[in-house]
């Protein structure tokens, strides 16, 4: 007796094929229709954003935290000038890139067959999600997440992919988990993408 996972209506053949990240970036629908700006890798495979930052010259978010402010989410065009940052840990194999504008952090990830993004838990409610999806495809090949990084924050976000299952049914599985925490006494925010 085995319990079947969720049974959906999307057929196996409709799952999007893997996309090259370059082509995805070229056509990715940006927040509010903006073009994609320069992005930095978030330090894939490195144990510690601080060490990686020293090697690359890219600012480690943990070592240079944003000012304590409360500003609105950047408009689409503002992200073009956003500064690439390194996260405390990134195990996305270069599939995710992070940048910072004021106290807002944006993480863009590319992966095949992305189905959903959601907050599992957050100490503050603000978070903005977008899926990059061609009109001909049932699933997305990119996802963008933006949220403010403020002292006291704790947040867990899950990015999900559609997976094939029994007889054309599909399920969902975790592609990435984004974790943010910045406790009083920390040098800076600890953000990881796993």
């Amino acid at each position: 007796m085995k319990k079947l996972p969720w049974i959906g209506t999307v057929l196996l053949g409709a799952l999007a094929p893997a996309q090259a990240s370059e082509s995805l970036i070229a056509r990715a629908a940006e927040p509010d229709g903006a073009a994609v700006g320069p992005r930095a890798e978030t330090g894939a495979g490195l144990p510690d954003g601080r060490e990686a930052a020293a090697a690359s010259g890219v600012r480690a978010l943990e070592e240079a935290p944003p000012a304590p402010e409360r500003t609105p989410r950047p408009a689409a065009a503002e992200w073009d000038a956003a500064e690439p940052v390194r996260l405390a840990r990134d195990r996305s194999s270069a599939a995710c890139k992070a940048r910072m504008r004021r106290e807002w952090l944006r993480i863009d990830c590319t992966a095949p067959s992305l189905a959903a993004v959601r907050t599992l838990g957050a100490s503050a409610g603000e978070a903005w999600f977008s899926l990059d999806q061609n009109s001909s495809e049932d699933l997305a090949t990119g996802v963008s997440v933006a949220f403010p990084v403020r002292l006291g924050d704790r947040r867990v976000i899950e990015i999900l992919a559609g997976t094939s299952a029994y007889r054309g049914q599909i399920g969902i599985s975790t592609s990435f988990v984004i974790s943010e925490q910045w406790l009083d006494g920390d040098a800076g925010p600890l953000v990881s993408v796993l």
Binding site: G8, A44, A122, R154, G162, G185, L190
Partner: protein
């Protein structure tokens, strides 16, 4: 435990009643030094010039000193409440704190005078203990509850519970899960985060009859969980045209990552250089590395180091322990990892593998770009021969093992019966035409339309399985091996398969271990107090009739099934089938096995006697003093 001078590794080998000293660097060809202990050692801690060891029975803290000839010599012996287990010292190294598991105590020992300063009561099965950086308080983990205990280390010491829900995103909002197997905790180097490894009972997920593995984080600044609460209607975005109806489907609302990257967490250490955690996964014979920077470290493990078995040797003799282990699907190299220590540079982990009596030397991933981790053979030291005859020795491996699908269904016997005791949990059992399954919470439904299930509390095994039979809450299994066979089907979703011969062989191995290998909890050898004597007189009286069924000569049970009229189904559980009978449970060690009844409806012995309503024997005629005396006697069993 590595010595501060980096010259030796110390290992508490409970099953051989020995402390082992392994000179560093480890020479795999040289046997370690074994130092006999006055009882079973549980944990060891090496500090400057001294080695501290907890002894379970009799309860002791041994203070030892390195010695060039003997390895270690005893310099002091501090009597403590029985089943001394967990061990930590205050930052000034003046005080040792010791948990006593079975007796539910935490004690402080003044190391300068080698005397006990105090002992206080805490909830059931205290195990792990860590002391805050400021020395102001200690945190205690428990095998049978989710809440931690915080002890403020002032005079007098004060204990209070600290809520820490296990695996919070695998539970509905405002319905925290229960937890078990809280053996271990570790502080971050700055002391501001406390990591606790355990098992989330009834956690929601696909095929999660047993729950989920969890490392939960407490912020020590305010004693609040690090993970923010799961909230209804949290932000989400779905792919266009993806008709996914997540809302209201608890399985889909739970994280879709692996439920059990580790099984039966037995030890936990913080690896400072990589800001990661290493968990000894008893059930899967692995060391698992997690991100200590994550709010929920268990959701995405960084690395799994499989340790269980080396490639099969062509020359393994038929009938040898190695060959029999392979046939039974259990570890040959490192089974039931239960202790971890790091080398000074943290490039290496030494892992004590209890069920194979080995020490594995695990080279760790550096987690650096451009430095790929190349897995290779794991060197190991054979510490000792198995402490049991061959059948029981393989049963010992099976008892801890969660990878042999025929036997375990994803959780080993030790997952619900830690130390052969119980997890304090009331499970849900559902049955249909040709199946029966256990699951941890009413939310975990093995199939549509099934929910609730009847209530079945985990029974303790140690010291209660010497009789031929019958076994099971309903006395349904004639023999112990038959009950174990039934368990192979119950404790899972779906049968694990396996030919009758393979199943029977495993059941017989396990039965041998349960009888020969499990160690009963300690009992005080002392005369009864006047109150207890009065309780004994009541227990054996014709008026009360307790001893008619709870026969003293046969572990306080007649092993016969009786109906239990008037017990109503607890919320969340099914009503029992008409005519169900319940085997008289053994009362041996009953003081330490709350809650009571098959459905766990009595939280204490006092409540059980008070609410008996002459259902079992007769107690309604007793005065309050009599009932207290009866409970006092029951606690001595």
């Amino acid at each position: 435990m590595r010595a501060p001078q980096d010259d030796a590794l110390y290992l508490a080998d409970e099953d051989h009643r020995a402390l082992r000293r392994i000179p560093l660097p480890v020479d795999v060809s040289a046997p370690p030094i074994a130092i006999a202990m006055p009882g079973r050692p549980a944990q060891v801690l090496a500090i400057e010039g001294r080695v501290l060891v907890t002894i379970r029975d009799p309860g002791l803290l041994l203070v030892m000193q390195p010695d060039p000839t003997a390895g270690l010599v005893e310099v002091a012996r501090v009597p403590l409440p029985a089943d001394a287990w967990g061990l930590a010292i205050t930052p000034d190294e003046r005080t040792a704190l010791v948990t006593s598991a079975w007796t539910g105590k935490v004690s402080a020992v003044d190391l300068a005078t080698a005397t006990k300063s105090w002992s206080i009561d805490v909830p059931r099965e205290p195990r792990g203990v860590v002391v805050r950086e400021d020395g102001a308080a200690a945190y205690i983990t428990h095998l049978t509850s989710a809440a931690l205990t915080r002890i403020d280390l002032r005079s007098p010491p004060q204990a209070r519970p600290i809520a820490l829900s296990p695996s919070p995103y695998r539970a509905p909002p405002d319905e925290p899960r229960a937890a078990s197997l809280g053996y271990a905790a570790a502080l971050s180097p700055d002391g501001r985060r406390l990591f606790v490894a355990r098992h989330a009972l009834g956690a929601i997920g696909e095929l999660s009859w047993f729950g989920a593995a969890s490392v939960d984080v407490l912020v020590t600044g305010n004693d609040e969980p690090l993970a923010p609460r799961r909230r209804e209607a949290a932000p989400s975005r779905l792919a266009r045209d993806f008709e996914l109806d997540i809302a209201g489907d608890q399985e889909l609302e739970a994280p879709r990552s692996e439920l059990a990257p580790f099984v039966q967490p037995r030890a936990l250490v913080y690896r400072e250089s990589t800001r990661t955690l290493l968990v000894a996964s008893e059930g899967t014979d692995a060391l698992v590395e997690l991100d200590a920077l994550s709010v929920e470290p268990t959701l995405r493990p960084l690395h799994t180091y499989p340790l269980g078995s080396s490639p099969a040797l062509a020359g393994a003799a038929p009938g040898s322990l190695d060959a029999l282990s392979r046939d039974a699907g259990v570890a040959t190299l490192c089974g039931a990892p239960s202790g971890v220590a790091l080398s000074g540079d943290e490039s290496l982990a030494w892992v004590y593998c209890r069920s194979t009596d080995t020490l594995a030397l695990v080279r760790l991933d550096e987690h650096k770009a451009g430095v790929p981790y190349e897995p290779g053979p794991v060197p190991f030291i054979r510490l000792a021969k198995p402490p049991l005859p061959e059948q029981a020795a393989i049963g010992r491996k099976l008892f801890y093992n969660a990878t042999d699908w025929i036997t375990s269904g994803g959780l080993g016997c030790a997952g619900c019966h830690p130390d052969g005791r119980d997890d304090g949990h009331v499970w849900h059992e559902v049955s249909g035409g040709d199946f029966a399954n256990f699951f941890g919470s009413a939310d975990n439904r093995p199939m549509a339309g099934l929910a609730g299930g009847v209530a079945r509390q985990t029974p303790m095994l140690a010291g209660r399985v010497s009789a031929e039979g019958p076994y099971g809450w309903n006395a349904q299994s004639e023999l112990l091996a038959a009950r174990i066979l039934e368990g192979f089907g119950l404790h899972r979703w779906g049968m694990g398969g396996g030919a009758d011969g393979a199943l029977s062989l495993r059941a017989s191995y396990l039965a041998s271990f349960l009888r020969e290998g499990l160690v009963p909890p300690p009992r005080e050898d002392r005369p009864l107090t006047p109150e207890e004597k009065h309780g004994f007189a009541l227990f054996t009286s014709e008026a009360a009739q307790c001893s008619r069924c709870h026969v003293p000569e046969t572990e306080y049970t007649d092993r016969t099934g009786y109906p239990m009229p008037g017990l109503v189904a607890r919320p969340g559980f099914y009503r029992e089938k008409k005519g169900t009978v319940y085997k008289t449970p053994s009362l041996r060690f009953i003081a330490g096995t709350a809650p009571y009844y098959h459905d766990g409806s009595a939280r204490t012995l006092e409540a059980l006697v008070e609410q008996n309503e002459d259902r079992m024997g007769r107690t309604s005629h007793m005065s309050r003093k009599d009932k207290a005396a009866l409970v006092a006697f029951l606690r001595t069993l």
